[in-house]
């Protein structure tokens, strides 16, 4: 598996990760006259994902959605642990641990998950993000029972020895090299973590080689017993399954697992309100063009402001007529520009960023980005533009979740980050309710200079003589 060090954040953090189906479509609707005025478009109606939810006596939350359109099933096990839970002085540990979950158990050899998935025409992977570590498999649906057995097995029977541990640590450091050092803009998205001064989000997910090398096998064993337990996990099954049969298998394999008596440690640090702009300068050896990122603190994903922030993200950064595209890319200042409402389990970040065109500086990018932020803060959003952004956001929901894999990912993420998988079905109606006043209000509240962190990502050539 090519395990991810952190989730490359989707455009919307909870919004787009939702599976919704369009209802009410009839073939004759396809023959509408092209070019009809946008203002007269009927709203896109979306059908919610039908799922059941229950909690076993040992605390395991189980979410099941039946869908027979393709003969596969997605199995996700999301643990409420991530980069922010790394032990002190061991940043990157949760992600390193994720790799070790593939190293075998008392019952199966290392890399058996690949045998159970790849070898039968499926796939499997895992990712570690700040707030979740999610393990998932997509297999032909006749293999569901085997994968339930295998996930239950590694929840309680993991075996890791010193050689395995050392080998996998090398792989993880290699991943750091590949993602962060070898990728021209890899460090840009690490530096954004410095927007935090107090909260452990400041350490990022991937960590660094020094702290990874300091980790021991004893750390591994302690981490597994602390966080890998049924009452810290959500099991999501989506696809070609019979719910009664699936539930019976879940009871059989997960039901007997014991709930440990020790409390699960939780992050309680609260990032203080930022009162002054923070600036970070970095010189990349490998980036061919300068880049600038501006990050603003925003509330946790559960906040009532999240739908408006997601619509704002779309308005700024999604599609060819988005504001950043028009103002930065179409004018030739930037080669790429985007916005990201990076909502998290705890207070997150709203990012705007751009990569320059040749001849443009980090300062040019910052000025152009700041101007677009000022516009959303200081001027009302025209009604047609708001409707456009809302339609795009909803269409993207529909588009992004056509697969069992993505539906399961959305459900598990909402369950672990927000405590409620049902959030996936509220995104579209919430988008539909966002008003211009909401967008203006959240822009004024969060996208302020004092609340911002600016990352000026210079190239070696640009900063010659000024590099630190």
């Amino acid at each position: 598996m090519l395990c991810e060090g952190s989730i490359p954040r989707a455009a919307h953090q909870f919004g787009m990760q939702v599976f919704l189906r369009v209802l009410g479509f009839a073939a004759c609707a396809l023959l509408v006259v092209p070019g009809a005025s946008s203002a007269q478009q009927a709203p896109i109606s979306v059908a919610p994902i039908a799922f059941t939810q229950r909690t076993l006596a040992n605390g395991l939350r189980v979410v099941i959605a039946e869908d027979h359109r393709t003969p596969t099933v997605a199995i996700d096990v999301g643990y409420d642990v991530g980069g922010k839970s790394d032990p002190a002085g061991r940043s990157g540990f949760a992600h390193l641990f994720e790799h070790l979950m593939f190293k075998g158990t008392a019952n199966v050899k290392p890399e058996s998950m690949d045998r159970f998935t790849e070898d039968v025409g499926g796939y499997n992977n895992a990712y570690t993000a700040q707030d979740i570590t999610n393990y998932y498999e997509i297999v032909p649906s006749n293999h569901l029972e085997r994968l339930l057995w295998a996930e239950a097995d590694r929840m309680v029977n993991l075996t890791v020895d010193q050689p395995n541990f050392v080998t996998e640590r090398k792989v993880v450091i290699g991943e750091y090299d590949q993602r962060i050092l070898s990728s021209p803009y890899g460090m840009l998205f690490e530096l954004v973590n410095r927007a935090y001064t107090t909260h452990p989000y400041r350490f990022g997910v991937i960590g660094n080689p020094d702290e990874l090398n300091a980790a021991s096998l004893a750390n591994v064993i302690a981490f597994h017993s602390t966080f890998y337990r049924p009452d810290n996990a959500t099991l999501v099954l989506v696809g070609d399954l019979d719910p009664a049969q699936a539930n019976a298998w879940v009871d059989k394999y997960f039901g007997p697992l014991k709930k440990p008596s020790a409390a699960i440690p939780r992050v309680t640090a609260v990032e203080p309100v930022q009162t002054k702009q923070r600036r970070i300068a970095y010189t990349s050896k490998s980036a061919p063009l300068p880049a600038t990122l501006i990050a603003y603190h925003i509330p946790a994903e559960r906040s009532a402001d999240t739908p408006a922030l997601n619509v704002l993200e779309t308005l700024l950064g999604s599609g060819p007529s988005s504001r950043l595209r028009v103002a930065l890319v179409d004018t030739g200042i930037a080669s790429q520009a985007a916005a990201n409402a990076d909502t998290r389990q705890q207070a997150g970040l709203f990012d705007v960023f751009a990569i320059a065109n040749a001849g443009k500086s980090t300062g040019d990018l910052e000025a152009a980005l700041a101007q677009q932020i000022a516009r959303v803060r200081d001027e009302p959003v025209p009604a047609a533009e708001l409707e456009k952004a809302k339609t795009q956001a909803i269409a993207t929901l529909v588009r992004s979740l056509q697969t069992h894999d993505n539906v399961a990912q959305a459900l598990v993420r909402a369950a672990v980050l927000d405590g409620d998988p049902g959030l996936v079905n509220r995104a579209a109606p919430e988008y539909a309710r966002v008003t211009a006043a909401d967008v203006e209000r959240v822009a004024r509240k969060y996208l302020t200079v004092a609340n911002s962190t600016v990352v000026a990502y210079q190239t070696a050539a640009q900063s010659t003589g000024a590099a630190k």
């Binding site: 090519l2 189906r21 369009v22 479509f25 073939a27 396809l30 023959l31 509408v32 092209p34 070019g35 009809a36 946008s38 478009q41 009927a42 896109i44 393709t70 003969p71 596969t72 008392a106 019952n107 199966v108 890399e111 045998r115 790849e118 070898d119 039968v120 796939y123 032909p140 006749n142 293999h143 569901l144 029972e145 085997r146 057995w149 239950a152 097995d153 029977n157 080998t167 090398k170 792989v171 290699g174 590949q178 070898s182 070609d240 007997p256 697992l257 050896k285 490998s286 980036a287 063009l289 599609g319 060819p320 007529s321 595209r325 040749a358 952004a389 339609t391 529909v398 056509q402 894999d405």
Partner: protein, 487 residues
């Protein structure tokens, strides 16, 4: 035990032999400290691919319609032959630039109007060239699709190529080339393509900074006139709509489209260059990218299935390359092989990314792993598992409506029958270990094209020992527009 189920792996088949109903239920329960065995898979569920229905409009446009019951989205793909292989020889990048400009202004709408109309519909519209063809794709929720298709057709048929948009597109293309060339893996892929096929099929699709600078509006207009035409093009529409309705939409959008007189859309077939070993010295690279490349069969060739399975044995997490490079030796985060093929050219490209100082060692392992496939045949088990992995990958690539439309379009473009998704599955299932060995012995015995991109000072001496003919090029001196790699 009956092997009726192609998706049953060998590992699971062994377990099935011991499956004993109640007894197994006990043994397979999870109890910490007690042994447990995985339960067997259930009976296989059938995999059924939809087949498109085809028609041809009087202007020569081939239209394929595929029904996807329950799909909220309707997707379309228009494929026109040509691609970068049809670029003027000194000007790689024209096909790519032409495609990117289709959505940047038409006879009726400005770039801004197109963008805001599409976003208002919540539709996508993307045009891009590959080596062999240019594709324009759209998707939209069903109720917005007809309106999206109207913009799509306008972009294909009546692009205006405004001068200021050409200037901006060149600027963006230049930046994108710099971004791709900045990553060792991205640059290695481009150099390998160039080194593997000396001629038209070796060109970098996006062009080079120099060649993009030389492209003017006339070149773009001429490319569009020659290659965007109904005869030879294929329009594929997929969604929850009847084929007759899809054909009616196609007729409305493209029925009156006609080819420009005197236009010439001839594409010459690919020819392989003499294999060589190239080191691109890029001291700023964080790691060294290694590529080992061979030419591969065309999509319609009789040995396509054997080549696909052979590539599958090499690739994927449990494939031979990753096993040797990552799992056994920890030389890299991963190693893979990719078989890309089409109507005119095919290649099998193995690649990895390693620390500079380990480049020579990793190259040796890659070469011996690829070469070993002919001499040490895949066992029936290894082949079976890698094949089911390949079949599963194909299945998941067509899970979305737009993915299904792209696959059907590619099959039609490559000259395959309408039921190709299903018949290809059968062909892949028919490949046996001897077939893979025969293919590998014949194809991988010849010298490969080898490319390394990284800090050459740390590995070039070691590489030269085994490959005395190695050519070293400084990244700054590289010219991908030239078959010789330098100006």
């Amino acid at each position: 035990m009956k092997r009726v189920n192609v998706l049953v792996s060998t590992a699971s088949a062994v377990v099935v032999l011991f499956a004993g109903g109640i007894a197994l239920a006990q043994e397979s329960q999870i109890v910490p400290g007690a042994k447990s065995t995985p339960p067997p898979p259930g009976p296989q569920r059938p995999v059924q691919y939809p087949a498109p229905v085809a028609t041809t409009l009087p202007n020569g446009l081939r239209v394929l319609a595929v029904r996807v019951p329950g799909s909220a989205l309707v997707a379309a793909d228009l494929a026109v032959p040509g691609g970068a292989a049809a670029d003027p020889d000194a000007m790689p990048g024209v096909a790519s630039l032409t495609a990117s400009l289709l959505t940047r202004g038409t006879s009726k709408r400005s770039a801004k109007d197109i963008a805001s109309t599409l976003d208002t519909l919540g539709a996508t519209l993307i045009a891009a060239a590959t080596t062999e063809r240019s594709d324009v794709t759209t998707d939209a929720v069903a109720a917005r699709f007809a309106a999206a298709l109207a913009i799509f057709a306008e972009a294909v048929r009546e692009p205006a190529f405004p001068a200021d948009e050409v200037t901006l597109a060149k600027q963006r293309a230049t930046s994108n080339v710099a971004l791709q060339s900045g990553s060792p893996a991205g640059l290695a892929a481009l150099v390998a393509q160039r080194a593997l096929f000396g001629g038209a099929f070796g060109r970098p699709v996006s062009g080079t900074a120099r060649s993009i600078a030389a492209i003017d509006r006339d070149a773009v207009v001429a490319y569009h006139r020659a290659h965007y035409r109904p005869d030879g093009a294929i329009l594929t529409i997929g969604g929850d709509l009847a084929p007759a309705d899809a054909f009616a939409l196609a007729q409305t959008a493209f029925g009156s489209w006609s080819a420009a007189p005197g236009a010439d859309a001839t594409v010459a077939p690919a020819a392989a260059a003499t294999p060589r070993t190239v080191v691109v010295d890029q001291p700023t690279a964080g790691r060294t990218a290694i590529v080992v490349a061979h030419t591969g069969p065309l999509r319609g060739a009789s040995d396509w299935a054997a080549a696909s399975v052979a590539n599958a044995v090499l690739s994927g997490y449990s494939g031979r390359l990753n096993e040797e490079i990552r799992v056994k030796r920890g030389l890299s985060y991963g190693a893979n092989s990719s078989y890309q093929t089409g109507r005119y050219a095919g290649s099998i490209v193995a690649s990895t990314l390693v620390e500079h100082a380990k480049a020579a060692d990793a190259l040796d392992v890659m070469l011996s792993t690829v070469a070993s496939l002919g001499a040490s045949p895949a066992s029936a088990d290894e082949l079976g598992t890698r094949r089911t992995s390949l079949l599963g990958g194909i299945a998941s690539s067509v899970e979305t409506t737009s993915g299904l439309v792209r696959a059907i379009s590619a099959n039609a473009f490559n000259g395959l029958p309408l039921d190709a998704l299903t018949s290809s599955n059968a062909a892949l299932n028919a490949v046996d270990p001897a077939g893979v060995s025969r293919f590998a012995a014949a194809s991988f015995a010849s010298a490969p094209t080898i490319v390394l991109v990284g800090d050459a000072s740390k590995f070039v001496d070691a590489v030269r020992k085994a490959h005395p003919g190695v050519v070293v090029v400084k990244a700054a001196d590289l010219d991908l527009a030239s078959a010789t790699l330098t100006r």
